[in-house]
């Protein structure tokens, strides 16, 4: 079951536009016929497989297969471009598996105790967490702070299109119901990276230059693994805890972990230019976050992300109810999930390492065939999201935007962070204000205060580094 799930997940994850949520939703009815434990194993396998596989196109063609892989490409693709695609792919498999397996262990050991941690996060805490996450923009754009900020604000702006999440008023919809329904984030992601990269490659092709086609060695030597270990462990921990908070998943987890890995790493200058630690950080964090997302689902009956929301459905259909009583009522299912999760990532390690040579063949495809295929896949993928031609239009527009941003030297990652984090910050702030009846006293509560201090420290550090390195601030 795990094997079938993983295989499905790998395919779905590697194709931009098809998400883990969709695959799990489609497979859900099949699990009704199965016993609860194998059914859950199938779905957990899909989940894990899809999250890992999102990094494959991120590394090879600079297009994240799933939103969680958006942080992976920052260093993964430069590595591939440098002729180290094999290394990047291997690191991604190993880091994903380590993140997932350790996540499963933490889930088994601490799940009931973490329920309180998840509950202590109210709107005020979410707002400050989101603000802290936004400081990543500053550190990602060291040396080009202004361009980074413009990109970040563009992302925040795009996220405000649609029905406002608090008062249900349409914003920037101009009377158009499709704009009113909001911009599909994944369509933007596909366009921003896939299409923009394709356009850039076409241009390069006409100029005669071509990307290196060497894949480099797939074998990871022990020394490198040892050097990556601290980053991987730290990122796993961070990803897991971000995942525990309902409503935040692998996409935010991987960016936060990436940023911290970079902050604490020696020689942080290499980050963004193909540092293996960047790949390890992002991948271990986003896979660990899936284990984290199961914590509130199993302990409180509250889904941690969209996939675990569907998993709740898979459990209830068997007459079981997620929540604390699941641990006492049907421990076999709970421990089945723990073990299944662990096994899924163990098998993923084997399957992934065996498969990377296969994925890497993508690089052998001549540029003039590869990129048109990427374009076609981008169109199909964005149409499949909501079977809407509007999303294809949004995707193409995002592609053109991405192309010009790349030309102008504007970093794309801040825009992605803006889109992901903006709504969390806005709804958190507005809810906190409603709850406090208009006063700002919530800022002085312990968790928001700590997050505020971290935010200030993080900004100060970025500014200091920019100044020291003599970059234009």
């Amino acid at each position: 079951m795990i094997f079938v799930g993983l295989a499905v997940g790998l395919v779905v994850g590697a194709l931009p536009g098809l998400t883990a949520t969709m695959a799990v939703a489609v497979l859900l009815p099949f699990t009704f016929a199965l016993e609860p434990v194998p059914g859950m194993m199938l779905l957990v396998g899909v989940y894990g497989g899809a999250l890992y596989a999102g990094s494959i196109p991120a590394i090879l063609i600079n297009t994240p297969g799933t939103p969680s892989a958006a942080a992976t490409l920052i260093d993964g693709h430069p590595m591939a471009r440098r002729g180290e695609a094999g290394q990047a792919l291997s690191i991604s498999v190993v880091a994903s598996a380590v993140g997932g397996m350790l996540g499963a262990v933490m889930l088994a050991l601490f799940a009931p105790r973490l329920a309180d941690f998840a509950l202590s996060f109210g709107p005020a805490e979410y707002f400050m967490l989101a603000v802290f996450a936004l400081t990543i923009i500053a550190s990602l754009s060291e040396g080009m702070l202004v361009k980074g900020l413009i990109s970040g604000f563009l992302g925040l702006g795009i996220a405000t299109i649609g029905v406002d999440p608090i008062q249900a008023y349409p914003r920037f919809s101009f009377g158009n119901p499709q704009l009113g329904a909001g911009i599909e984030f994944i369509a933007v992601l596909i366009g921003l990276f896939g299409v923009a990269e394709a356009l850039t490659q076409f241009e390069r092709l006409r100029g005669g230059a071509s990307m290196g086609t060497t894949l480099g060695s797939f074998r990871l030597d022990l020394g490198r693994l040892r050097r990556l270990l601290p980053t991987t462990l730290g990122s796993t921990l961070l990803g897991f805890f971000v995942g525990v908070l309902p409503g935040t998943g692998g996409d935010i987890g991987s960016f936060v972990a990436y940023n911290e890995a970079r902050r604490f790493a020696r020689g942080e200058k290499k980050f963004g230019r193909g540092d293996p630690r960047g790949v390890a950080a992002a991948e271990s964090a986003n896979n660990a976050s899936t284990a984290g997302a199961l914590v509130p689902m199993l302990t409180l009956g509250i889904p941690g992300d969209s996939v675990s929301a569907i998993l709740i459905g898979a459990i209830t259909v068997h007459g079981l109810r997620p929540g604390p009583q699941l641990f006492t009522g049907s421990p076999d299912l709970v421990y089945g999930i723990f073990i299944g999760f662990f096994l899924a990532y163990a098998i993923l390690l084997v399957l992934g390492l065996a498969g990377i040579r296969l994925w890497a063949q993508m690089m052998r495809v001549p540029t003039r065939f590869l990129w048109p295929t990427v374009l076609v896949l981008s169109v199909v993928g964005s149409y499949a999201l909501r079977t809407s031609a509007f999303d294809v239009f949004v995707m193409l527009l995002a592609g053109v935007l991405g192309y010009f941003m790349l030309k102008g030297g504007y970093p794309l990652a801040p825009l992605v962070i803006g889109i992901i984090v903006g709504p969390i910050a806005e709804t958190g702030f507005r809810r906190a204000m409603i709850i406090s009846g208009g006063s700002y006293e919530w800022l002085l509560q312990p968790i928001p205060l700590v997050l505020l201090a971290l935010t200030v420290a993080s900004l100060a550090l970025s500014l200091l580094r920019s100044r020291r390195s003599g970059g234009d601030v």
Binding site: P165, A168, P246, R321
Partner: protein
């Protein structure tokens, strides 16, 4: 004379033609009437205005799978989503009125016109039957001092701000508690805190950030059973099977019932006999063991209303929501 005769002949010919055409039309109609016993003569489509996999979609698919047998034809479910259900409601209203296209109407059809979201109202469709009602339940954290709905209302009366988490501004759960607060005369001191669904609202109650949540009984059941949430009242005429110890608002002296409901509708001009046929075979599906079991397992409340009652009910709801929504001042633009 001759010309006249010829004219008369032409006229007669015309009359004959007309008669023949009329006859043919009548025959066709008769044929249609004759085929009435055979209705449905082809596949039936149910238009669900919400996403696949959601509660409404699940109940519709379950009902459809049983009704394929009781109605004797293939039934497909198509999801036409968008604009708080308006896209699907409108599609059902505009469909061919031959009974082969059924719309799935949810409580939102009586709300969205007032909210300024879309034009469509219950006037645009004809009721076939109601099959579900999930009343709102007001719940608080189990570790709070609110032991009854009275405690909560008294706290609001004494000037304390009671913050109630709902699945969004203008959602049925918002309107449900706001209507209750109006009836109890404490509208000023009950604040809606909109979340992205019932789950995060429940989380905020458990985390102690807000006092209460207004959601369906099924949505709070897991936390009620685990002892984390305390349901104070349900807004129904009778107690809920899934929350047997929770009194109704009426028992507590507040005459207010509301919640989410679901039913089947057809375009306005659908003939009476077809509505009857559909009502009969879908009622049979509603009564089946399979459907009953599904509804119970997933905590959906079963409530049946025949065609004319459902039609009248949708209109009443439309009137009622109009008044509340106006007083809440949440209409767009």
């Amino acid at each position: 004379m001759n010309g006249e005769a010829r004219n008369g002949g032409v006229l007669r010919l015309c009359a004959l033609c007309c008669a023949m055409v009329l006859g043919a039309v009548l025959a066709a109609c008769g044929g249609g009437g004759g085929a009435e016993e055979e209705f449905p003569s082809k596949q039936i489509e149910i238009i669900v205005p919400w996403d696949p996999g959601g509660g409404t979609d699940q109940t519709a698919r379950q009902l459809a799978s049983v009704a394929e047998e009781t109605c004797g034809t293939n039934i497909i479910v198509s999801n036409q989503t968008g604009s708080t259900g308006a896209v699907g409601f409108q599609a059902a209203a505009n469909a061919e009125p031959d009974g082969h296209t059924i719309g799935l109407a949810t409580v939102e059809i009586s709300m969205i016109n007032h909210l300024g979201v879309a034009e469509v109202t219950p006037e645009d469709v004809r009721g076939v039957m109601q099959y579900n009602f999930d009343p709102a339940a007001i719940s608080v954290g189990a570790d709070t001092d609110y032991r009854s709905i009275d405690d909560l209302i008294s706290a609001a009366e004494s000037g304390q701000n009671i913050r109630v988490g709902t699945s969004g501004t203008g959602s049925i759960w918002h309107v449900a508690f706001a209507g209750m607060a109006q009836k109890a005369g404490v509208a000023e001191n009950m604040t809606n805190v909109p979340f992205d669904g019932a789950a995060p609202a429940i989380q905020a109650v458990l985390g102690g950030q807000i006092e209460a949540t207004s959601a369906s009984g099924a949505e709070v059941r897991p936390q009620v059973e685990s002892g984390d949430l305390r349901p104070l009242a349900v807004m129904a005429d009778e107690r809920l099977d899934i929350l047997p110890d929770t009194p109704t608002l009426k028992e507590e002296g507040i005459d207010w019932t509301t919640g989410a409901w679901r039913g089947l509708v057809v375009p306005n001009d659908t003939p009476d006999d077809r509505v009857e046929t559909l009502n009969r075979c879908f009622k049979e599906a509603y009564d089946s063991e399979q459907f009953r079991q599904f509804m119970e397992q997933n905590g959906f409340g079963m409530q049946y209303k025949p065609a004319d009652e459902f039609e009248a009910f949708m209109d009443e709801e439309y009137e009622r929501f109009g008044r509340i929504i106006e007083s809440l001042d949440i209409r767009q633009q």
